[in-house]
Symmetry: C2
């Protein structure tokens, strides 16, 4: 993997770049739609390509439980299984073990947890998690980390950081396939001291990219933003920075200003299935009766398949009647919105007029209702 | 609407034809996917076009209740609402009133029924049903008919036929839009005498096409086939014949042999959502564990998007994990199978080798398991 910075923004930390691999090249900043079980819910790989998605996310924890790693190995890896020949990033499962398993047991060697599906017992070591991702064959691999809850005691934050560092070291010793790149995950809760310590250690070991973890776990927005700004400042400039699981459109634009290059979040896909649509004029709930006879698209300025072909009235009709097509058309629209937002971000960095637009967007978008 | 017969099969009643309208031309025999609420469940109009669908069905009863006719009128008619610029056939609602409303009340003037959704009371007259379809703007319009249950007393069959005839006459007096064509619906239960009487009266009035109704209501297959053969023999050669709501692949091939030109059925779409797939080698239930690690398509000889891109193992994984994409990919495959079957039927009629193939298909397909 080769990461190049094509342009640095004059007045912010934002950068325009590209991640090149033999398989595919993605521009950055990039949004990566979440495809938990090897499918971005409701979308086909063909649609994702048409919309310009370059990297999708797969969840190691979920794929490990269903359909299982052995099966995906037999079937030639995750790209082939899911018929996706662009890039895939897999997370480490650390976050899912944290959020889906209240009864997990952490030891130096790894974490014991119970499947949220059937209660069966499993044990993840840092090595095993890398081995799973080696088999999945994802292009970007995340090591097992330890994410603390919010709020957390200093002792917990310290323990989380130390485990994350030692596990990162063990992860780095495991052989990956030629095409795979290993990232490190920065933890440290909401503590500058521990974020700093964690970053120093991880950067010292040298990884191909750095993820910022442990955010969007219930902390106030201002604190999350502070931690994003701090975290990016601690990471090397010449490696891609990936903010895990964040977030709302304004969070993403803010984080680009801080120098983040890669994003993933379930928001556009999950909201779509619940009928919440993002538009250039703000958010709208398609089931609202005011849309009942509106004979124009969700967003007049949007060029997605949904907006080019269907009215708000038709989308509302599909949604209130539980038609499967509603989930698809809504998801197409929201993912297209996120991908277009990144396109706009990249164009503005390239054109040198990013900062003013970004500040205004961050201020205005959260309040806007279409 | 102009219906032309391009070739008549030498040894069966099958015919190759085309239905031309200003909007679009469809070859016949044709299969029309069912789009109850203005959407063929799980598919986009783009996918339907890519697969070669030329006519879709809309259900007058369902569209009348949801989203309502006034709304579709405001939004420019059903084609525009659903973003479908090929052909649409709408049924009369007679069958839904029959099958969804045990408490319906039939009078000479029409039928009173309660919505299966909220119990609200409604009244359909023959004139109202045509008026609804005039507003929907469908290309092929069906008059209100009276379908009897199976088994039925002779008195009921007689009453059904007489109402159907009188209602057809009243329907014919209602003005449609220029582009719309009115069919008649042949009833008569399982009685040759009443089918014959009904056909004579309807054909005497002169309609642009003739539908065969009242079948697939619980009668044995052999009786249904007998009635299809009888019914087609009673209808004029120079008008399209439409067998309503039938059926299985072998039923369709048999009915083409009898001279039927148009078909609709929920089977390919509904079965797809339940995981039953039709293939050239027979049917398969994708959730079956034998497909768990089969790294080849549902049907190696199928050229649909699903079979070109995904393995049985992936489809099974999606289906058992309730992924929305499963419903789509299964539906794409089944609809493509039905449309391809019709393509094969047309090619064989054109090439003069239809009969032998058809007899073999009818005999072998029902027993085949892929």
């Amino acid at each position: 993997m080769k990461f190049s910075i094509l342009k640095e923004d004059r007045s912010t930390q934002a950068r325009l770049g590209k991640i090149e691999t033999e398989r595919y090249t993605s521009k950055t900043p990039v949004f990566m739609p979440v495809g938990t079980l090897g499918t971005v819910k409701a979308l086909s790989p063909g649609e994702l390509k048409d919309m310009g998605a370059t990297i999708i996310l797969g969840n190691t924890y979920h794929l490990y439980l269903r359909p299982g790693v052995k099966l995906i190995e037999t079937l030639g890896g995750l790209h082939r299984f899911a018929s996706w020949n662009r890039l895939i990033l897999t997370d480490s499962g650390g976050f899912q073990v944290h959020s889906l398993n209240p009864l997990r047991k952490i030891t130096e060697n790894g974490v014991e947890f119970r499947s949220h599906l059937d209660g069966s017992k499993h044990f993840f070591t840092p090595e095993k998690v890398i081995e799973i991702q080696r088999i999945l064959g994802s292009d970007f691999v995340m090591p097992l980390d330890w994410c603390v809850s919010y709020p957390a005691t200093e002792a917990d934050v310290e323990k989380g950081v130390e485990l994350t560092i030692r596990w990162a070291k063990r992860s780095k010793a495991v052989l990956l396939k030629e095409h795979q790149s290993l990232f490190a995950i920065l933890q440290g809760g909401m503590s500058e001291r521990y974020r700093r310590q964690c970053a120093e250690e991880l950067v010292g070991m040298g990884f191909e990219g750095y993820a910022i973890g442990g955010l969007s776990v219930g902390e106030p927005k201002s604190l999350m933003w502070e931690m994003v700004e701090l975290s990016t400042s601690l990471l090397p400039k010449d490696k891609p920075r990936y903010l895990m699981g964040v977030g709302k459109p304004e969070d993403i634009v803010f984080s680009v200003m801080c120098g983040v290059d890669m994003f993933d979040c379930v928001l556009p896909t999950r909201c779509a299935r619940n009928g919440l649509l993002f538009t250039s004029k703000g958010k709208l709930r398609i089931k609202n009766s005011i849309y009942k006879n509106q004979d124009f698209p969700v967003d007049e300025d949007c060029n997605c398949y949904t907006c080019r072909n269907f009215s708000r009235a038709y989308l509302r009709h599909l949604f209130v009647n539980d038609e499967i097509l509603a989930l698809r058309l809504n998801t197409i629209h929201n993912v297209y919105f996120y991908l277009s937002l990144m396109e706009e971000v990249r164009t503005r960095i390239a054109d040198g007029n990013f900062e003013r637009w970004a500040i205004r967007f961050i201020k205005e978008y959260p309040e806007m209702e279409a």
